[in-house]
Point group: C2
Chain length 344, copies 2
DNA sequence: TTATTTTACGCAATCGTTCCCGAGAACGAG
DNA sequence: CTCGTTCTCGGGAACGATTGCGTAAAATAA
């Protein structure tokens, strides 16, 4: 059952040296003779010696592992982000530890406490849709845990942020609907307090206003659990289609909501894009092949993951405390397809 | 930068006790007076003491973290499996460390060496499509690392396996095509040496034979990288449609291949299900809404992950070496939709 | 009162590694 | 021949926690 690992002591015993000498020889210290180094290195190779990372962690007070906390792994956007994170972490010799909040604040707090007690060197997080209070994160942050936020960020701490231009993305998508003749544009969104919600809603509203129409708050439906439960989206959609003035287009402000809306419309037999236009944020792989093909706002998820881990490692590996924090804003891509082209 | 953690020494100093007393008090040892226990517990709470898991790992020679090695995270099947793994690992106090092979044997070997040197307690793996030789895994296994295989398994080691009934799944899917009038059924599959390939191909062939037709090997296209590169699938598909006797149905024996085939057919303007029927293994979220809706074989990915971690933890936490290994075979679900219904 | 047991705690080793010191040997300079 | 360097290497503490063993004081028994 035990992984009988070769230690530095084994080498020392084998060669009749002290552990300090072996340790130094392996680290190529100047105070060890070339000859001794050679024999130690050979012996280490022979015995297939691997330094024990746990012992190192104990000494160096770093574990070379970073935690990623997202609401859900099985979501294209997040798994693509994790992919980006892992791609760089791996090359730098870091482990990536994954945790999911399932959009629950309590779970997020628990996860975090657990992760923190596991001595991680840093954290990359997109908060849950229930998370309004940031005390749990602040506590860790001010204790010295490097944190990088992405997607759903908090500006309450002075740290790196990675996100997309949410305002502009929503603005573009809404404008696109308007340009294509849609008049009453409803909006399915996440909890009101999330950064992405605020920014995206602002973009949506601005586009409506810029078209000379007044914003109707009834057309904005907040799904406080981001659509993890299908009934949440269904309820919101039901309210929308039963409005005295039924909207003729929907914009989904996050992945799950967009596809939730699609699912609902299909079930109800409401034709897209004729009776209802549909566009939304999505990083799903097959939006192109959906029926109808879905117009989307695609986020550069992989790049977001890469940026996040790069910024995090910069903090972790910097000798002196970092004072300048970057707020990285990436561009999204508006991909127009059939679900918003009523006149074709 | 440092996470100034409270140690047992701080408590000892604060209370004028020895570290052993504090340690024992925290572990509720019988040889500590109730009074001392109380003060220690209070002090620990006051200082917000958390045991250092690294120090514990060093003593106990276990890290309470398990590694998961898959070819790709950003793949619905695998992210669902990881979801299942994480759901149970979390409750048992284990960390999940993720790594990706990207279908590369070399990368798999590297990942594994890296993970092993990070003192993991166990490994859950689905090998890369390039992996034929299992020596790298055997080496770790015989050194005492508990391993559970899932999906793409190897029977060369005496350990737990988690998979689906691949033979039967392919048989059912192929039979379904036959029943729906398809005569020339081609097959897009992964590397020939993978367990899933062998079993699924066997099921496919058996179904063909049972229908009284002779198997034509030209109709079986092996994609040695599982379709991670789009051109691989395209090449295979091109060969298939240029066959003197063009097939009238395709069965994709893995997620990426199924959707790759769909993508190809759409691009070529070959209508589904009329000119070409299409069915395949897929755990994608939106196969239902594809155009046309896709008939699929769905694997119980979440449950597979749960089974895998349960079996792994059983091995890890067992006192005595386990001799009996289970070979868990789960059932798949055949979901018939429009892509295989020519006559509707 | 004395002997014996129980209670309640401290000392020190241990896990694998690093690193500060100290120290012997060799060597050249004077 | 002696002194100061330089080159090599070993001893031992430290990281944070657990644990076997030893022991003083208190409690009990004789």
């Amino acid at each position: 059952m035990k992984f009988e690992a070769v230690t530095i002591k084994d080498i020392a015993r084998e060669l009749g040296l002290s552990t300090s000498t072996v340790s130094r020889a392996l680290r190529d210290s100047y105070e060890i003779s070339a000859e001794t180094k050679k024999t130690v290195l050979e012996c280490a190779k022979k015995l297939n010696y691997r330094p024990n990372p746990i012992a190192l962690s104990l000494k160096e007070k770093r574990s070379r592992s970073i935690a990623v906390l997202v609401c859900e792994i099985a979501n294209s956007f997040f798994s693509q982000v994790i992919n980006g994170i892992e791609s760089i972490a791996y090359n730098k010799g870091y482990n990536v530890i994954i945790s999911q909040s399932h959009e629950s604040f309590q779970r997020e707090v628990n996860d975090l406490q657990f992760l923190a007690s596991r001595s991680i060197d840093g954290l990359i997080i997109s908060v849950s849709s229930e998370t309004e209070n940031m005390e749990h994160l602040k506590k860790l942050f001010y204790k010295g845990l490097p944190i990088v936020f992405f997607d759903r960020v908090s500006e309450e701490m002075d740290t790196h942020l990675v996100m997309v231009d949410n305002f502009n993305s929503a603005y573009k998508a809404t404008s696109h609907l308007i340009e294509n003749g849609y008049k009453t544009i409803a909006c399915l969104t996440n909890s009101a307090h999330l950064s992405i919600t605020k920014e995206r809603i602002a973009g949506y509203k601005k586009a409506i206003e810029d078209s000379g129409v007044q914003v109707n708050e009834d057309l904005i439906k907040y799904c406080n659990h981001g659509g993890v439960h299908a009934d949440e989206t269904e309820k919101a959609m039901n309210e929308l289609i039963n409005l005295e003035k039924r909207p003729d287009a929907i914009i989904g402000l996050s992945d799950k909501l967009t596809t939730g809306a699609l699912r609902f419309l299909q079930k109800q037999g409401i034709t897209i894009p004729k009776e209802m236009g549909l566009i939304g944020f999505s990083n799903g792989e097959f939006t192109e092949f959906l029926n109808p093909s879905l117009s989307i706002i695609r986020q550069p998820a992989f790049e977001m993951g890469q940026s996040a881990i790069e910024l995090l490692l910069e903090v972790i590996e910097s000798k002196r405390p970092i004072k300048e924090f970057t707020r990285k804003v990436l561009e999204t891509e508006l991909i127009v397809r059939n679900s918003t082209l009523r006149n074709h």
